[in-house]
Amino acid sequence: MTKIIRLAALSAIAAAAMMLTGCASLTMSPPKPTIENTAKLRAAELAPVNVGSFKIDAAKAKDDASVSMRGANGLAAPGGSFAQYLGDSLKAELQSAGLLDPASQTVITGTLTQSELNAGMGTADGKLGARFVVTRGAAVRFDRELTVNSEWESSFMAAVAVPLAANNYEGLYRKLITKLIDDASFRAAIGK
C-alpha cells in the first residue's frame, strides 16, 4: 500500500513538472519558400532585388538570440539571430520566384522591432513586427513597419504547449513576409 502511495506521489510530482516546464531547447526550421508567396511574386511583374542587412532594434538586442517559453524552455533561430532569420525568410521567397539578385540596385533591408511570445495556459499569443525599407540607389522607395500576431489554444501541459508555441512563433515569420508581399506599396517599390 505504501508503495502505491509513493508511486502516486511520484507521478503527481512528475505530472506537475510536466505541466510547468518541459525543459526543451528548440530551433526553428531553416527558412523555406511557400508556394503561395512564390506564386504571388511571380504573378506581380516584379524586378529582381537584393536583400541587405536585417538587424534587431538596438533597444531589443537581447531578444535576438532566443525567446523564452514558460521559463525553462528556449526557442532559437537556426543562425542564432531572429532578425537574420527574417531576412533569410524573405530571401528564400524571392529566390524561389527567381527575383533575388545580389547585383540589383534595389535593396530591401529590415529592422526587427517586435518579437513576443507568451506560451501561457489557456490562450497563448505571439507578435512579430519589422520595419522594412526599400532603396534604389539613394532613393527610399518604401519605408513601413508591419506587424502580425497570432493566438492559439495552449495546453496546461508544457510538453504539449511548448512545441506548439514554437510552431506558432515560427509561423509568424512567414505571416510577416506574406504581409510584406501583399503590401501594394511594397510591390510598387520593387516593380519593373
Partner: protein, 204 residues
C-alpha cells in the same frame, strides 16, 4: 541517443503523441501506435509518368494545426524527399525560379480532449486506457516554371494511438514503433496525393 530517447523525441514531435509522452513519463504505461489502413501506399510503378521528369525544387513541411513543426519536419523530410525522387516524376531543379513542388502534411487532432484522456490514463497507471486518433492532411502543390497558378491535390490519413489498457479502433493496422508509424503514414499519404497530381492533365 538511446532507442528510448529517440522514441520519446519522435513522440514529442507530434501533437497527440506529446500527450502520450507525458503519460509515459508519468507512469511508464504502454503506448501503441497504429497507422490507419484506409489509405494505402500507391506503388511507384503505378504512378503515371510524364514524358520527362520535371526539374523541380521540392519543399517539404510538417505542420501542426497549420503551423510549421520544425522537429517533425526534420524527422520526416529525408523519407519524403527520397520517396519523391523515386517516383520519377521530378528531376533536380535546373535553375533558380524553376518549378516548385510544395508538400505539406498538416496534423489535425480528430479526438476531442485528447490531452485530458492521455493524462487521466497516466495518472491511473494505464488502467483507464484511452485511444486517440490524429488526422493528417497532405497537400501537394505544383507550380510550373514561369507560372503563377499551382496545381493542388490533397490526401488524408490517420494514426491511432492507445495508452494503457485500451484496444485500437477498427481500421487500425498492426502496432508500430513511432518512427516507423510516422514514416509509413507520410509515405502513404504523399503517394496518394502525388498519384492524383500525376493524373492531372495540367501536370503533363
Amino acid at each position: 541517443m538511446t532507442d528510448s530517447n529517440r522514441r520519446s523525441s519522435i513522440l514529442r514531435a507530434f501533437l497527440v503523441p506529446a500527450v502520450l509522452a507525458a503519460s509515459l513519463l508519468t507512469t511508464g504505461c504502454a503506448t501503441g501506435l497504429y497507422v490507419d489502413t484506409a489509405t494505402k501506399e500507391v506503388p511507384v510503378a503505378e504512378l503515371k509518368k510524364p514524358v520527362q521528369p520535371k526539374p523541380t525544387n521540392v519543399v517539404f513541411e510538417f505542420q501542426t494545426k497549420g503551423a510549421p513543426n520544425a522537429t517533425a519536419t526534420k524527422h520526416l523530410q529525408d523519407g519524403v524527399v527520397s520517396y519523391v525522387a523515386q517516383t520519377g516524376l521530378f528531376a533536380p531543379p535546373a535553375a533558380v525560379g524553376s518549378s516548385m513542388l510544395n508538400i505539406t502534411i498538416n496534423n489535425i487532432p480528430l479526438t476531442d480532449d485528447a490531452a485530458s484522456k492521455g493524462f487521466v490514463t497516466g495518472l491511473t497507471f494505464g488502467l483507464a486506457g484511452s485511444a486517440v486518433t490524429d488526422g493528417y492532411v497532405c497537400t501537394v502543390s505544383y507550380l510550373p516554371a514561369g507560372q503563377g497558378v499551382a496545381i493542388v491535390k490533397t490526401a488524408r490519413h490517420a494514426v491511432h494511438a492507445t495508452i494503457g489498457n485500451a484496444s485500437p479502433p477498427p481500421g487500425a493496422g498492426k502496432p508500430l514503433e513511432a518512427a516507423v508509424a510516422y514514416n509509413t503514414m507520410a509515405r502513404e499519404v504523399v503517394s496518394n496525393a502525388l498519384r492524383d497530381l500525376a493524373l492531372d492533365p495540367a501536370f503533363n
